[in-house]
Each structure stands twice: as structure tokens, then as C-alpha cells.
């Protein structure tokens, strides 16, 4: 009976008090994971330099949360275990361990169905050959590694070079803002202080623009630079100036209206930049 009571009180108060705290933080973190579906091209050095604001938090590179990373490097070691294959990947900026869990279902199909084998890539990644890795940054103890979703061989050198340039472009995007934007010069002056304290409203609009389609950005720039009166430009005018179908312009306009960077003036189809 005593035992039973003890158990009861434990689960009643101790357990009850514990539960909310427990569920809040991990689910909070998970929610962030779910919202952040980005797959970021990086260098191994960026993985090594990635910071964690607090233990168990998402890793950050250039001040932005990273969910999944993508990189290319040479395979320096392959060690096959029963549950996983561990690769050591060197991309010239550093080395990192990559763990790919062995999926028994795929392993089986590989034995029987050779046609589907390349999807796993297990047999094709060669020692000292190049591989493209896609996975999440994990840590075990003090050691950082990549929990890989996919490790596949890379044979075209242009893909390697393209990746490096892509990683650089994304790094610059996060440290200096989008290319060509007014913020590009201003933010560069503040160094790598990322996206933090917005120094001007223009930067805020810029940030809204960052995630938009190229066409939307084009229209925004036209509205910004083209001489016009306070009523702005009509959709048809924009379409003829940019030499684009009106339907495309309308769609991109919706995007800009939705983000609140432009507003309609005379009628639904006449837009001007919303300055605030």
C-alpha cells in the first residue's frame, strides 16, 4: 500500500509538474524544425563553425537557423557497421563525419533489384571520390557529425564548383542581404552582423522581398525607379514596360500586395510602393 501511495503521489504532483515543462520545450523546438524546411548549401568549415545559442537548440550558420545542410566533398574513409555507414568527408575547408543509417528495406531491394540500387548509392560512393551529402547537423558528446539522408557520388566537376559558389552566395545572402538591394552596401559596412537590428525601414521591406519571386522583385524595382505620379503604375503599363504577359504581372503583383510592400491606388490594378 505504501508503495502504491508513493507511486501515486509521484505521478500526481512530481510527474504532473514535470510534464508541461518537458513537453513545452521539445515541442517548441520541433515546431521550429517543422517550419524550417530549408536545405542550405554549405562548406564543411561552416558546419564546424555552426553555433548553438543554447544546448539542444537548432544550429545556426550566419545567424540563421539551419535544418538541413547540403555539401560536396571527398570521401576520406568509409566504415560500414551493421546499422550505419560512417563516411569521413573532406571538402578542402575541413573534415566532418557523416553517418548514414542503413535502411534494411533498401538494403534488401538492392540485393534483389539492381535497377533501383542507385537511389541508395551505398555501393557507388568510392574512397577518395567525391560525394554529395544531404543531412542534418547532429552532435554526440562533443563531437559534431552529419545525420545523412542521402550520400551519393558526384562525377561532374562543374557540380562541385557550382556548389561552392552556391554556398558562397547563400552565405553572402545571410550576411549582407539580397543581391542588388539597397541594403547590400549598408549591411556590408556592419560586417557579419546578420539581419539583426534593422537600421532602416528599407531593410525591412528588403527582407520581405527576399523570399519573393524574381518577377515580383523586378516589378518592385520598376515601381521604385520608373518616373510616375503618386498613383503609381497600372498593371498594363508594367506589363508593357517589362514586356511580360499581364497574367504574370498580376500574379507577381498579388505577391507584392500580400506582403504589403506595394498598395493599390486608383483601382485594383494600379500599384505604388508603400513607403513607411
Amino acid at each position: 500500500m505504501d508503495n502504491y501511495n508513493n507511486y501515486n503521489s509521484f505521478s500526481g504532483s512530481g510527474g504532473g509538474g514535470f510534464m508541461p515543462g518537458e513537453t513545452n520545450s521539445p515541442s517548441g523546438g520541433k515546431a521550429g524544425d517543422r517550419d524550417n524546411k530549408t536545405l542550405r548549401p554549405v562548406t564543411v568549415k561552416q558546419v564546424a563553425d555552426a553555433s548553438q545559442p543554447y544546448p539542444e537548440a537548432n544550429y545556426q550558420i550566419d545567424g540563421a537557423d539551419v535544418a538541413n545542410v547540403l555539401f560536396v566533398g571527398q570521401v576520406r574513409n568509409i566504415s560500414s557497421q551493421s546499422t550505419n555507414i560512417t563516411y569521413k568527408i573532406d571538402d578542402g575547408t575541413g573534415e566532418v563525419e557523416v553517418k548514414k543509417w542503413v535502411d534494411s528495406a533498401t538494403a534488401d531491394s538492392m540485393d534483389t533489384d539492381e535497377g533501383k540500387a542507385p537511389a541508395d548509392g551505398k555501393s557507388e560512393v568510392e574512397l577518395n571520390g567525391y560525394a554529395r551529402v544531404f543531412g542534418a547537423i547532429k552532435s554526440f558528446g562533443n563531437k559534431r557529425y552529419i545525420g545523412a539522408h542521402s550520400v551519393r557520388p558526384l562525377t561532374n566537376i562543374n557540380e562541385l564548383h557550382c556548389h561552392i559558389l552556391e554556398a558562397t552566395a547563400v552565405h553572402l545572402f545571410f550576411t549582407r542581404g539580397p543581391p542588388g538591394g539597397p541594403g547590400a552596401g549598408a549591411n556590408a559596412a556592419t560586417g557579419d552582423a546578420v539581419m539583426g537590428g534593422a537600421d532602416e525601414y528599407g531593410a525591412g521591406q528588403n527582407r520581405a522581398l527576399m523570399s519573393m519571386s524574381p518577377l515580383a522583385k523586378k516589378i518592385y524595382n520598376l515601381l521604385k525607379t520608373d518616373p510616375q505620379d503618386e498613383t503609381g503604375l497600372h498593371m498594363q503599363q508594367i506589363a508593357s514596360k517589362l514586356n511580360l504577359p499581364a497574367t504574370d504581372v498580376a500574379r507577381a503583383g498579388e505577391e507584392l500586395l500580400g506582403a504589403g510592400v506595394i498598395f493599390s491606388t486608383m483601382d485594383e490594378q494600379t500599384w505604388a510602393i508603400l513607403e513607411y
Binding site: 554549405v42 562548406t43 568549415k45 561552416q46 564546424a48 571527398q74 573532406d90 578542402g92 575547408t93 575541413g94 573534415e95 577518395n128 571520390g129 567525391y130 561532374n156 566537376i157 562543374n158 564548383h161 557550382c162 561552392i164 559558389l165 554556398a167 558562397t168 552565405h171 553572402l172 557579419d192
Partner: protein, 123 residues
């Protein structure tokens, strides 16, 4: 810190030579070129329109004439005061040079050194 091997062009050899100013942590570099001459223990690669580099080979280096190779090696002095070359640590065969747009590689090298914080530690 693990080994870092910045990608370079022939023009950068001086900057990565052990005698160059500053206690640079790495003299190990990567370079890309087409094999144009094999002379037993040395070889020459042509780096697009950026000139040639002499390689000091390892006994087990397997280079083939006319192939595009990526070389990882240390910047070193050539025998007889013939300038700088690279002592090979490893090579990767990339096959036909026509399959690689060398202009992209030049941009990669440019980006590597201009935005070095994501590629290598300067000191």
C-alpha cells in the same frame, strides 16, 4: 582543426609558400589543371589560361596525359631554383578537360579568397 586545402591558381603559389609573410597555418593547397607533360618524378599541368604548374610527384602518383586532375599538395621550391611548384599529396582524376568549364573554377578560386571566412582560417 582539420586540414584545410584552399583552391588556388598558379598566381597564388607565392602567397602559400612557407616563406611568405605571416605564420600561415596551411601551405597545402588544391589546384586544378590538365596534365601536359610527364617526366618521371615531375609533371606539368596547365591551368586554363592561367599558366602552368610543375608537380613533384609521389612514387605512387598515377597521372595520365591529357586528363584533368585536381591536385592536393604542398607549395615547395623546385630543384635548381626553377621557382615554385607543388609537392603532390594526392590527385583526383576528373577525366576529360572538355567536361569542365575552367571559368567556373576561376570564380571558385576568387570566391574562396574573397570570402575566406567560410573556406579557411587565414592565420
Amino acid at each position: 582543426m582539420s586540414l584545410q586545402t584552399p583552391r588556388i591558381l598558379p598566381a597564388h603559389l607565392n602567397a602559400f609558400h612557407p616563406s611568405s609573410s605571416g605564420p600561415r597555418s596551411t601551405h597545402t593547397v588544391r589546384i586544378l589543371g590538365t596534365v601536359t607533360a610527364l617526366r618521371g618524378d615531375t609533371a606539368t599541368i596547365a591551368c586554363g589560361t592561367n599558366g602552368d604548374v610543375t608537380l613533384i610527384l609521389k612514387p605512387d602518383s598515377h597521372l595520365q596525359m591529357g586528363k584533368l586532375v585536381e591536385v592536393v599538395g604542398k607549395v615547395a621550391d623546385l630543384e635548381g631554383g626553377q621557382g615554385l611548384g607543388i609537392r603532390v599529396l594526392g590527385t583526383t582524376d576528373w577525366g576529360n578537360p572538355a567536361d569542365c568549364d575552367y571559368k567556373i573554377y576561376e570564380q571558385v578560386v576568387e570566391a574562396t579568397h574573397r570570402f575566406k571566412s567560410i573556406f579557411y582560417d587565414a592565420e
